[in-house]
């Protein structure tokens, strides 16, 4: 058995080295092609953000690898490693205990685990963007369902005739070639991350989206001065133009929670 596993490991290492080399070559080729791509312009002169954008299934480390007829979705040496935890907001001292308490009860309290919309900015970059001169539509193909956000860019103010929601109310404007989106009017049922990072209904989120050829950069900052020590800027997310169209999301039917034997954290980063 040991000899077999040793031989298997040796063969695996050899194959892994070759595959890793091919993967690096592919990444380099892809990056070069993307670097050379021209950023398209809309008729109004702004960058055209329209397109379907691969952000790793909402989690930017999901980058499957095809090996012949086989596919490694996650867990192979060639797959990128998951983002490290630590990208977390900082709370005012009097709220630290509340966050810790929620984190310890995450499987009971995190509404995303029950198929609710993940909120903003937790939902991440849009999976598809449809741009018109007056408004830009964000479409999401999320585990919890298909979601949309309408972002007016024609100077309209925030709406005052809608109830607070999971994804808030958005307006946008252009700063040079960057689309800036401001969202407010959130409910307080979502978290900023999967670790108890609650927010109030006064949450305000600024997203900055910039296209460079076939790459989309998404930056987001959450402002909630009632509870946060300082504005929280998420790590940048990079999405790539893809021809893999989004589809109708299958139903989100939660079956896991009754199977859990304790409150061990259930990762749900996005």
């Amino acid at each position: 058995m040991n000899n077999f596993r040793h031989a298997q490991a040796k063969a695996s290492r050899g194959a892994g080295t070759l595959a890793a080399a091919l993967w690096i070559l592919l990444l380099h080729t892809t990056a070069t092609a993307a670097d050379d791509a021209v950023t398209p312009r809309a008729s109004d002169g702004h960058p055209d953000l329209s397109g379907t954008w691969d952000n790793g299934a909402g989690i930017d480390f999901v980058k499957p690898v095809q090996i012949g007829a086989s596919i490694c979705v996650r867990g192979c040496a060639q797959n990128p490693q998951p983002s490290q935890r630590g990208d977390r907001p900082t709370y005012q001292p009097e709220f630290v205990a509340s966050v810790k308490d929620l984190e310890e009860r995450q499987v009971q309290e995190d509404t995303v685990l029950r198929c609710f919309a993940p909120g903003v900015p937790r939902i991440g970059p849009p999976d598809k963007i449809v741009q018109t001169p007056n408004e830009i539509i964000f479409l999401y193909d999320d585990y919890a369902g298909n979601f949309f956000r309408i972002v007016p860019v024609d100077g309209r103010p925030h709406r005052t005739d809608v109830e607070p929601g999971f994804l808030g109310d958005a307006i946008g404007w252009w700063e040079d070639d960057t689309l800036v989106v401001e969202s407010i009017n959130f409910n307080d049922q979502t978290w900023l991350t999967d670790d108890g990072s609650f927010h109030t209904t006064n949450l305000r989120v600024i997203e900055r989206i910039r296209r460079d050829g076939e790459t989309l950069e998404w930056l987001a900052t959450a402002y909630d001065p009632e509870v946060l020590q300082e504005p929280w800027q998420l790590r940048p997310r990079i999405a790539h133009l893809t021809d893999q169209e989004i589809v109708e999301a299958p139903p989100c039917i939660e079956r896991d929670l009754d199977q859990m034997v304790d409150d061990t954290h259930h990762d749900n980063v996005r």
Partner: protein, 128 residues
């Protein structure tokens, strides 16, 4: 299909792998420090979120067939890899599935790490 050929479908306890804990998100449900291998026939798949489920018929040494409920990745991740429900179900031939077993005592519940089909191709869904 010949279930007799699938006798003793639960093959073995393969290994203990504490490193698998590192990025596993389902520690409250499954024994992520060990895995077993099943051989059986995929009968159906629930193409749902937040986790998909595969139904695997496994025969014991007496030929009695038990249906395992095997949790897998969300459909969004599977689609990102170009996988479809039909690809996951396969062609009705026996498959070998590496799984974590359930912590709640359910003897026919598991979490799929890797499926290997009769012709040798595989889909790996988690660190093994």
């Amino acid at each position: 299909m010949n279930y007799k050929s699938l006798a003793a479908g639960v093959l073995s306890l393969l290994w203990s792998a504490p490193w698998a804990l590192a990025h596993h998100s389902l520690l409250a449900q499954f024994n992520a420090d060990s895995a077993i291998e099943l051989t059986g026939i995929i009968m159906d798949m629930d193409w749902i979120n937040p986790h998909s489920y595969i139904y695997l018929d496994v025969a014991d040494e007496d030929g009695n067939v038990v249906t395992w409920h095997l949790e897998a990745l969300p459909t969004a991740m599977l689609r990102k890899a170009g996988l479809t429900k039909a690809m996951m179900i396969g062609d009705g031939q026996p498959v070998t599935v590496l799984i974590h077993t359930a912590r709640n005592g359910n003897k026919t519940l598991g979490y799929i790490l890797k499926i290997t089909y009769a012709d040798g191709h595989y889909y790996q869904l988690a660190e093994v």
